[in-house]
């Protein structure tokens, strides 16, 4: 009895180890991305796996800082591709965490908006290290049932008319860049932080509250606690689709933009495959389907032609909008700390 049990166990172990080795022999492409952020939708994973006979494995990040940490501590030679915001690409390039990308091998590369391809964060000298994927903006949004006029200026967020009905993002980057835009300073390189601080303190008595999560915004809006505020483009589009009377505008001063980009990790185990994967991710096939499911704005111009008019209008996929945004660029940590301290000081002011 005993020996039989042992034999069975032995056989089971052998089968298990055999199965494990087969899995290990199968090629695996390791991706780092946010959870539920396009690349991990089952149909996309399946499509790529079948086409290239590879297994796509996702590892998730909770912040860009975590992504950098993953790459610094043992990620090199383990992961193939990752998705940082372009503001973080220069740090990764300088720390030698990335491989150059052969953009000539990417069949869909030329379909990307030239504006995004040309961003300085993506390259060092003539070498390109990152491929733009999706983008979005943070700008003025308001309740069009309450505010009948067409708002065209960010200064509406400082308008005493809306006292007690305004909300503002509790985020030092958005706060300082928005104030800089209103004051006519360069939002990525503000010249007078003192004036920005004053402007932000001046706004406080007019606000209902600050918002931090996207969920806060939609609740405040739906409960009619606020009628105006700065908001995310993607969330505004989603809320409009739900039938909320929300209007999202890029005002005359411009607005804040962000871009997420794909990179190939240094010493990626599957270098060629990594580039093929990025090519698939930026292709119209993938981006169109994801856009219909509610993606952020795709960085590809080719997608425009394949998307229904309403969807592309909702995502504001027009060249004019893209050109008017100030994209959050790379900032050294000393600047980040300075900005955070300014924002804490504003919030601490009674």
């Amino acid at each position: 009895m005993r020996t039989r049990g042992l034999t069975l166990l032995l056989i089971l172990t052998m089968i298990a180890s055999l199965a494990l080795t087969t899995v290990a022999k199968e090629k695996v492409l390791r991706v780092i991305n946010w959870k539920d952020y396009g690349s991990d939708v089952p149909w996309a994973v399946k499509a790529f796996e079948q086409k290239f006979g590879v297994k796509v494995v996702h590892d998730y990040m909770a912040s860009e800082e975590e992504l950098l940490t993953k790459l610094r501590t043992g990620g090199i030679g383990k992961y193939d591709v990752a998705l940082p915001n372009i503001a973080y690409v220069p740090i990764a390039i300088n720390e030698n965490l990335l491989e150059p990308i052969h953009t000539e091998k990417l069949t869909n590369y030329k379909q990307l908006f030239a504006k995004f391809r040309g961003m300085k964060e993506l390259r060092k000298g003539n070498t390109i290290y990152a491929v733009p994927w999706v983008w979005g903006s943070t700008s003025l949004a308001y309740n069009s049932e309450v505010i009948k006029e067409d708002l065209t200026s960010l200064s509406a967020l400082w308008d005493p008319k809306y006292k007690g009905k305004i909300t503002f993002h509790d985020d030092f980057t958005d706060a300082i860049m928005t104030a800089a835009l209103v004051l006519g300073q360069d939002p990525n390189n503000p010249s007078d932080l003192g004036a920005i601080k004053k402007k932000l303190i001046e706004q406080k008595p007019l606000l209902k509250t600050y918002w931090s999560q996207g969920d806060d915004w939609s609740k405040l809006f739906a409960a009619k606690q606020i009628v105006i505020g700065n908001a995310w483009s993607g969330q505004s589009a989603a809320m409009r689709n739900e039938g909320q009377p929300l209007k999202y505008v890029i005002p005359k001063e411009g607005a804040i933009g962000w871009v997420d980009s794909w990179v190939v990790v240094k010493n990626a185990p599957n270098r060629d495959l990594a580039e093929k994967y990025i090519d698939y991710m930026i292709g119209a096939d993938f981006l169109t389907r994801w856009a219909k499911e509610g993606s952020p704005a795709p960085a590809s111009e080719a997608v425009l032609k394949t998307l229904p008019k309403q969807v592309s209008a909702d995502l504001m996929l027009d060249q004019a909008t893209i050109d008017r945004l100030s994209y959050i660029s790379y900032r050294p940590s000393a600047v980040l700390r300075q900005w955070d301290e300014l924002w804490q000081e504003v919030k601490a002011t009674p």
Binding site: S63, K204, Y210, Q344
Partner: protein
């Protein structure tokens, strides 16, 4: 003590001592080291010794302003908890004779739900057009919208609700220990109820008051979740600044320094209450 027994004793002490060393002393020591650096040491960052993080606290007014705000917040919460909990605990310990366990259980039940859930429940309750507004409107106590959410008092209410069970439980324990015969003796000797309470019951319950106050005050001044969710524009306290240093700007050194200064303040308060306790012990003729 025979050597064998001493060895046995040392062995018994070892696990808790190791636990304290590993999970209390070491993390605090690491945090203290961080607080003296310019950066979190990493493969590409160069960390240099500095006192800058502590200097900031004393040169930038708003850090002290926010710390003071957190302390006053803690005082309010503790005082309100005490006022609410004392009669409750007294009732549980000295008046109720049946269903004591059930009633205590009712006090503890809020502990079973996450404090995050409780904070969000208050949002629903306090919201304009929310349950409380409609109720008060029906009772003709207010007219128009209830402007309570996103104010400082809203934070206090949530914190009181979260921490008062600690106060009730510690007060209950110390009130229950008071010998009923002492109260009877006071009454027999002609003491009026109020004077019996002030001169017999309350002094004897002081250790419980102090312990309860500490259990409420210390977490209350370090709180950051409730201020963030319910405080709106008034929701910035030293706790939220510390949280942001760790989670948003990755300035762990400054976050550690601020946390350490808060710890020092708490220790000073604890030292102060030890004095009160001694005083109480003196008044009642010995610690019970």
């Amino acid at each position: 003590m025979p050597p064998g027994e001493r060895a046995w004793r040392n062995t018994l002490v070892l696990p808790p001592a190791a636990w304290l060393l590993l999970f209390v002393v070491m993390p605090l020591a690491i945090m203290f080291c961080f607080s003296l650096l310019t950066e979190v040491p990493g493969p590409t960052t160069k960390a240099v010794f500095t006192l800058q993080n502590y200097v900031k606290f004393f040169t930038k007014d708003f850090y002290r302003l926010l710390t003071w705000k957190s302390i006053t917040m803690g005082v309010w919460v503790t005082a309100i908890c005490l006022v609410i909990s004392y009669p409750m605990a007294y009732y549980l310990a000295k008046v109720v004779r049946r269903h004591q366990t059930t009633l205590l259980l009712l006090v503890i039940i809020p502990f079973w739900s996450s404090f995050l859930v409780r904070a969000y429940s208050w949002v629903t309750l306090f919201m304009e057009g929310g349950v409380l507004e409609r109720l008060l409107g029906k009772l003709h106590l207010i007219s128009g919208p209830l402007q309570f959410l996103f104010t400082y008092p809203a934070i206090i209410v949530a914190l009181v609700h979260i921490y008062f069970p600690y106060m009730v439980l510690t007060l209950f324990v110390s009130l229950e220990k008071i010998d009923d015969r002492l109260i009877e003796a006071a009454q027999t000797l002609g003491s009026r109820p109020w004077s019996t309470f002030w001169r017999v019951v309350f002094p004897l319950s002081l250790p419980g008051v102090v312990a309860g106050a500490m259990l409420v005050f210390i977490p209350a001044i370090g709180s950051f979740v409730e201020p963030r969710i319910l405080g709106g524009l008034a929701g910035t306290v030293i706790g939220t600044v510390i949280e942001d240093q760790f989670l948003v700007v990755y300035n762990w050194p400054l976050g550690s320094a601020l946390a350490f200064l808060l710890l020092v303040i708490m220790l000073l308060v604890l030292g102060g209450t030890a004095g009160i306790r001694k005083l109480a012990a003196g008044r009642t003729g010995g610690e019970r």
